[in-house]
Amino acid sequence: MTGFTRRRIVQSMLFGGTALVLPSGLIAAEYGRGEGMPWSPFKGEPPYHGTHADSFFTPAEREAVAAICARLIPSDDDGPGATEADVVTFLDRQMAGFYGRGQHWYMRGPFAEGTATQGYQSRFPPAMLYRNALAELDAYCRTRHDAVFAGLTEELQDEVLTGLDEETLTFESVSAKTFFDLILKNTIEGFFADPIYGGNRDMVAWRYIGFPGTRYDYRDFVGHDGAPIQLATVSLTGRPGWSAP
């Protein structure tokens, strides 16, 4: 008899501890009882990354979003922007999925505006916030400049976006500032997320800034001492040379 089981008897007298006897199948998941670490193949959850079928934006919305992203992260002499990275496709898939629906967010009322320190308080989840804001944005641009946002010059587009950012331009149905902050955040996400999500196409954004991507072992480089490290960029699906000739 091990010390372990002996102690167990001692305690049982103290506590009258009863071993669990449970009809199996009643409980969602139970582990232990000396069975070791559970494992079965292919049980890891795949990420939601969106495919061609996952689309939320109307053609007009898509055009507006693409135009906004292109101003937030422009394509210029210095390198690729949201357009080359196809950020709009990333956003379209995100809005069509759990994120756009606000499925994991707390979306119960009552809704109130709140202070800046209280964070997102829109009654709309992201996708519907986009939809409402984009409609008002195009309506504003039509009244003011006789064209939808996507049809404006880059200078005018920047002016309108600055208005949203600095809260000189407001909307009726949703907070223009909340929309601006969210689309900026989402655009940065789409630019730099793994290409599996539809943006950062061909890892253009990672290569632009020198991020080697999803590598997992830098032990050989810890002693870099301030020198640059040259490594080919890798994504979750691999890299050209591994996954394509």
Binding site: R8, I9, V10, Q11, F15, G16, G17, T18, L20, L22, A28, A29, Y31, G32, R33, G34, G36, M37, P38, W39, G44, P47, R71, L72, I73, P74, D78, H104, W105, Y106, A112, G114, T115, T117, Q118, G119, Q121, D165, L184, I188, E189, F192, A193, D194, Y208, I209, G210, F211, P212, Y216, D217, Y218, F221, V222, H224, G226, A227, P228, I229, L236
Partner: protein, 586 residues
Amino acid sequence: MTRELPGVDVVLVGFGWTGAIFAEKLTAAGLDVLALERGPWRDTAKDFATTFAQDELRYYWRHGMFQETSQSTLTFRNNSAQTALPMRHWGSFLPGNGVGGAGVHWNGQTYRFLPSDFVARSHNEERYGRLPEGMTVQDYGVTYEELEPHFDYFEKICGICGKAGNLGGSTVEGGNPFEGPRSDEYPNPPMEMTFSQDRFAAAARELGLSPFPVPSANMSRAYVNPLGLQLAPCTYCGFCEKYGCGNYSKSSPQTTIIPVLMQRENFTLRTETEVLSIETAADGSRASGVTYVDTSGETVFQPAEIVVMCAYPLENTRLMLLSGIGTPYDPRSGEGVVGKNYCYQVMSSATVFFEEEFTNGFVGAGALGMTVDDYNGDNFDHSKLGFIGGGYIACHTTNARPIESHPVPEGVPGWGSEWKRAMRENFLKTTTVGVHGASMAHRSNYLDLDPTYTDAHGRPLLRMTYDFTLNDRRLTDHITPIAEEIARGMGGREVKVNALNGSYDSTPYQTTHNTGGTIMGSSPADSVVNRYCQSWDLPNLFVAGAGLFPQNAGYNPTGTVGALAYWAAEAITEQYMRQPGPLVQA
């Protein structure tokens, strides 16, 4: 209808870091232990494999492993004149969910609090006179000396990599000269540092400070812990905090304890079971067990001889309030204890931008860093400073994950071509000197139940009322300039100071170091549990986690959380099991 199950010796509410610690110690003592965990089963092979663990969008920005706010969140306001509103998605902190809890996706910076931190009221009053009115700082009721063996054991379980600075009272070169006396060296040597830490250490020494390696739960070499579990060398992958480790290189419940528990016949784990309340026996003398709901929606009563709350400070506090255990704290009268002394962490930093040199932040790890403790706790004279406590000043290289980390110099706009270029120019050429400041308790900062908002089961959310205090502001105003001075000595082109200004903002990530709410102490009038983490009201109810801290120190909490869990587990096996009842007479 609630189904009643056969009883067990011990039920653990939540199965993260503290749940695993209690499970190991109490099963080893022969008790039949059942852990109830709200989230799913998780382990390395299935959930953190190196072929997909490094997915920034999924795990950080889409909250892949955190508690889902749609199920339960909390409401927040800066002061009691405001109306609290729900945190609709996480920002400032990221509560864990699932087996391993936040221990899966922590950084692994594993400090011991200073001896004076445990006696914050008596120590500071003795040295500096009475604390200001409204500052509800108090002593823990347990001392550093009592916890020392448990700090030591937790460090060995984790295989912490570091350098002792005080071995049994003698100062050791290269470690933290201010730390409390240690009975032993760290089980593993410090991690290998990078360029940024070298520059930081040199600049700090130049100022007469004493830099030492951050005690790290990322392995500097292969290690076998006292339970026989093996950890592998960290690969500096740069996807540590907010991510699971694919290499078995980060100490977590999964890598250091759970595989052993899974071999024990007297351990059972039920996942996807959310505890709704702690039940009290009809005569009010003890906890009778817990009620939980599983994914089928069925509610179940699980009787137990001992209940240990391991559900993280925020949920531990809420469960106590929902279960009507202990007197809720009333900020107007200052009476009551549950929800009292909520504290956080006071953070600021200075970013260094280099011109020529590359910091290569992607070569990073959660606890890779050098730090100084000269301005922590009471390691410096506070006479006439108007505040108590302090913080460590550290230079970490944890990552260069581009959605999260894109520091740009002062004056650069937040979007457009100029931003994009500045991002490219500086992405691999910056590092940060951060201040990790203590947060002292104040009468006006507390947790209670929200009167309006409810969770997915229709029960009140926890309400947080919190803002930085005068002590916090003076502390950060005093120490941030020192961080800036170190940063300026590191040889960069420019330095940008990120001072702590204005009210506490619940939106940007700061730390998941929420403390208080179920505080420990020496009297039922001012604490929820006694020095053994045992409820003053129900002697078979024990509480774990940073909710025990009467106020937060200038360190990450988990080293002290682990030590307190081992201390309390020992009190159960050595004292309570022999003679069940209150371990301290009220």
